[in-house]
């Protein structure tokens, strides 16, 4: 691709990009994210938009299940091998460590912790979620490979719990990311969390845990909700 095309493409992308939509009175762009022009060694000028040049901003696609016996078999395998991301988002994450101890032992249900979002397919949102954490949660959730599941732990994810009137924590998690299983309580005991895993297994085996596709289908709606509260949106629209 010649430089002329590249420049044209960049300017088109800038015109279409949603990141330029202002949700706020203030401008939160960091200096390193600002648009800039760089002079190439041969004298031509290249426009750079750091947020869009380093990342792919392609929207997620629906990856529909193939159906039939094969899909049922694969769903059984997915249900029996749930890899949970080790990311504690709130106070509820204190309920996760007991799961690896002899008393609760989640390994016998095929549940394991994984350290990186690329290798995990279940995400426990543990308790209250502040807007600051929500931003990281969205980034992490979008990096997980599909099919992916979300367990919402605690009352705070359902209606805000005891933080319903706080300026910094969200009330309803399902407005921002799709939730498969809610585990109510403040705090739920580890047994409740294990029951949540069993419930999730039932959903996966029945082929009903397709929330990743729901996220892709209603992508614009979810993004609008997310951008309404994350005012310093300094990341691409979809984080591959």
């Amino acid at each position: 691709m010649s430089e002329l095309d590249l420049n044209k493409k960049t300017s088109e992308m800038l015109a279409n990009s949603k990141a330029n939509v202002k949700n706020s009175k203030k401008d939160f762009t960091r200096p390193e994210d600002e648009l800039r022009e760089v002079v190439a060694p041969d004298g031509s000028i290249i426009k750079i938009n750091p947020l869009y040049d380093y990342f792919s901003d392609e929207k997620p696609k629906e990856e529909l299940p193939r159906g039939g016996v094969v899909e049922k078999f694969l769903n059984w395998a997915r249900a029996e091998s749930i890899w949970v991301l080790g990311f504690g988002t709130g106070c509820g994450s204190i309920e996760i460590p007991p799961l690896v101890t002899p008393r609760f032992d989640m390994f016998r249900y095929g549940v394991q912790m994984r350290p990186t979002p690329r290798q995990s397919n279940a995400f426990i949102i543990s308790g209250y979620l502040s807007v600051k954490t929500l931003k990281r949660v969205i980034r992490t959730y979008e990096q997980m490979p599909s099919p992916k599941y979300i367990l919402a732990l605690g009352s705070c994810t359902i209606n805000g719990g005891m933080y319903y009137d706080s300026y910094s924590t969200i009330n309803r998690l399902d407005k921002y990311i799709p939730v498969d299983v809610y585990i109510a309580g403040c705090m739920p005991r580890p047994e409740a969390l294990l029951h949540g895993f069993v419930k999730l297994k039932e959903l996966i085996k029945a082929g009903k845990a397709e929330k990743a596709n729901e996220y892709a289908r209603n992508f614009d709606e979810y993004k609008a909700n997310q951008k309404k509260i994350i005012k310093d949106w300094n990341m691409p629209d979809y984080n591959w």
Binding site: K26, G160, Y164, D165, S166, Y167, S168
Partner: protein, 186 residues
């Protein structure tokens, strides 16, 4: 402690002196003299440790009250220096040169109350919230409930119960109700 406070009073004019405990005294100092007094306390009177710095919003008086709590590790004494500043134009002399830990406190004050400390390093950086564009959230004229309802999609029909009463009704319905409880129910 009392003699020390009298000595300090002769140097800087102290107001509202409160002897909270044997080893804890609160005193208000004028804004112009405050950092001077804190420097004197740190360098000459061994109050070398900054325990905390906090802020109170006296909205009725139109004032912010800053509190510098200092600790003397030799005599095991604490002194709290209160400083009143104007609420309309909140500005305070920065103390970042005295303790490095005060940078973070001043950053927090700036974000939560909008108080300006000229010259304080990293003052404008985010501390707790990111991308905040309302008035500072710890000010008492900021209605956090209203903001949450407006912003975070509240789930309707939210009900609250008094835990003691709820448990009595739910778990022990057959137990006789005392006169006091009957009065509370009404």
């Amino acid at each position: 402690m009392k003699s020390f406070i009298e000595k300090l009073n002769s140097k800087y004019v102290l107001q509202e002196v409160v002897y909270q405990r044997d080893d804890l005294v609160f005193a208000a100092i004028k804004k112009e003299n405050a950092i001077d007094a804190i420097t004197y306390l740190r360098d000459y009177e061994d109050f070398t440790h900054l325990v905390l710095m906090s802020c109170v919003d006296w909205i009725e008086d139109g004032k912010y009250q800053l509190l510098y709590l200092l600790h003397n590790p030799i005599l095991k004494n604490d002194i709290g220096i209160k400083v009143y500043i104007d609420r309309e134009n909140p500005e305070m002399v920065s103390a970042h040169h005295l303790w490095k830990s005060i940078w973070t406190y001043q950053r927090e004050m700036h974000e939560a109350f909008g108080i300006v400390f000229p010259g304080s390093p990293r003052l404008k950086e985010n501390f707790v919230v990111e991308g905040w564009d309302e008035i500072p959230f710890m000010r008492r004229d900021f209605d956090t409930h209203e903001y949450a309802e407006k912003t975070y999609f509240p789930r309707g029909n939210r009900k609250s119960n008094d835990p003691a009463e709820y448990m009595r009704k739910k778990l022990y319905p057959s137990q006789p109700v005392t006169a006091k409880q009957r009065k509370d129910d009404k």
